[in-house]
């Protein structure tokens, strides 16, 4: 399978990428690791006229601490996120989630900014960002803004990013030693979650239980009110209306959400 024709431009800086986005708008797509975009282009589900390559911009990659948060550059690859000593110590759920994406070859290429921008509701990193209460830094023609994870994911493969904007970094709270749980139900070892659950510090996020990664708010409320993990987990699927596919119908996904939430709450590390 061969992608459609496009013009390729390697951005020389984030500012250059923004200029190119302003020039080409909706006709352009940003390319980083390409592990969401290129498969779509090969299937002709995406046919951009221009690809703006930001994958070589080293100042968009890497992890640093900034007061109470870790700041992760958008083009940080999953393998580097999973191996980062800083992330493993202070946001271990995020490092673990990065290690669950795809397989080693995919983790060598895929980037956190790309995964979040792609916004697959079944993916690991969007769910992890919602569970952690993180946010994303976005640069656009009018300057930069910060959007919380809860506001960033707006629909099925839809985010708050506008066509002329660039996701530059991801922010997550530094929480060394805070217990967390992560459960991902798959039929093949390197697949997307049929249902996923990430829980940390009273927050519970669900993957593939709707059009976006969701908070299990009823279960969170039950926990806050003193319910046991098992009792709170009974509410994990409340208010959700997950899709159906060959792997699972709606009721089975809701069942999985309850079971996996109980496991994520009862088997925590950190």
């Amino acid at each position: 399978m061969i992608p459609g024709q496009f013009e390729y431009i390697a951005a020389e800086s984030p500012a250059h990428a923004l200029e190119l986005l302003a020039e080409y708008g909706d006709d352009a797509k940003l390319l980083a690791g390409g592990h969401s975009l290129l498969p779509m282009m090969k299937l002709r589900l995406a046919v951009p006229e221009v690809l703006i390559d930001i994958g070589r911009l080293n100042d968009l990659a890497g992890v640093r601490a900034d007061n109470s948060e870790l700041v992760i550059g958008a083009t940080t690859r999953h393998a580097d996120l999973a191996a980062s000593e800083l992330v493993r110590a202070e946001a271990p759920l995020l490092a673990y989630a990065a290690a669950q994406v795809g397989d080693p070859q995919i983790r060598h290429r895929g980037t956190i900014g790309g995964s979040l921008s792609h916004a697959d509701p079944a993916a690991d990193l969007p769910m992890a960002l919602v569970a952690l209460g993180g946010s994303v830094e976005i640069q656009g023609p009018g300057g930069s803004r910060v959007v919380t994870a809860d506001d960033f994911f707006q629909g099925f493969f839809e985010t708050a990013l506008r066509p002329d904007e660039l996701l530059t970094a991801v922010r997550v709270p530094r929480r060394p030693g805070v217990p967390w749980g992560y459960q991902k139900f798959v039929r093949r070892s390197n697949d997307w979650a049929i249902v996923g659950v990430a829980a940390v510090d009273g927050r519970i996020a669900l993957a593939n239980m709707g059009a976006t990664p969701l908070r299990a708010t009823a279960a969170e409320r039950a926990l806050a009110d003193g319910a046991s993990p098992a009792a709170a987990a009974e509410h994990a699927a409340d208010g959700t209306s997950p899709g159906e596919d060959m792997h699972a119908d709606r009721e089975y996904r809701k069942h999985l959400a309850r079971v996996l939430t109980r496991r994520a709450l009862e088997h925590q590390t950190g």
């Binding site: 992608p3 390697a10 498969p39 690809l51 080693p104 070859q105 290429r109 390197n190």
Partner: protein
């Protein structure tokens, strides 16, 4: 067309390519290196695995233009002076193949894995090769080969490619 300069198996190259040309097609059709196979063409099977700056990647999901300025290593670049690379030798010794289609990808994924983790446990070897499928299901001997290669090495650092 876009001009790319890169190193393939230790040899510097400069080629005009269409931006949409996939790395695996660049290697097979322009460089004439046909070890990397197009299997699933959907980033699943790993038959097209090569090393890019020392890390395993699936070359069906990398554009040739994305490899510009980097070092590509394919199975053809592993053996030097007629000697099999230790990973190749271990696959041969342990019969880590059946039909052989997945083998170049398995070998390159193994070289990449052992560069990151020189002494994997069996579980780590299996997880490290989860991105490579063998439709013959010959996994037991493949894992034996990976562990034997780990025992046998010093595996040379992969990013250096063939000796100049």
């Amino acid at each position: 067309m876009t001009r790319i300069e890169l190193t393939v198996n230790g040899e510097k190259r400069s080629d005009e390519v269409e931006p949409r040309l996939l790395l695996v097609h660049y290697l097979r059709e322009i460089c004439g290196l046909r070890a990397a196979n197009v299997g699933c063409d959907t980033t699943s099977c790993g038959a097209c695995t090569v090393l890019l700056d020392g890390r395993s990647v699936k070359s069906c999901t990398v554009l040739a233009v994305q490899a510009a300025g980097q070092e590509v290593l394919t199975a053809e670049g592993l053996s030097a002076g007629g000697e099999l690379h230790p990973v190749q030798a271990a696959f041969r010794q342990n019969h880590g193949l059946q039909c052989g289609f997945c083998t170049p990808g398995m070998v390159m994924a193994t070289v990449g894995l052992l560069a990151e983790n020189p002494h994997p446990t069996e579980a780590e070897a299996r997880a490290g090769l989860e991105g490579n499928l063998c439709r013959c299901t010959g996994y037991h001997n493949i894992i034996r080969a990976v562990l034997a290669a780990a025992d046998a090495q010093a595996v040379p650092a992969p990013s250096t490619g063939v000796s100049a």
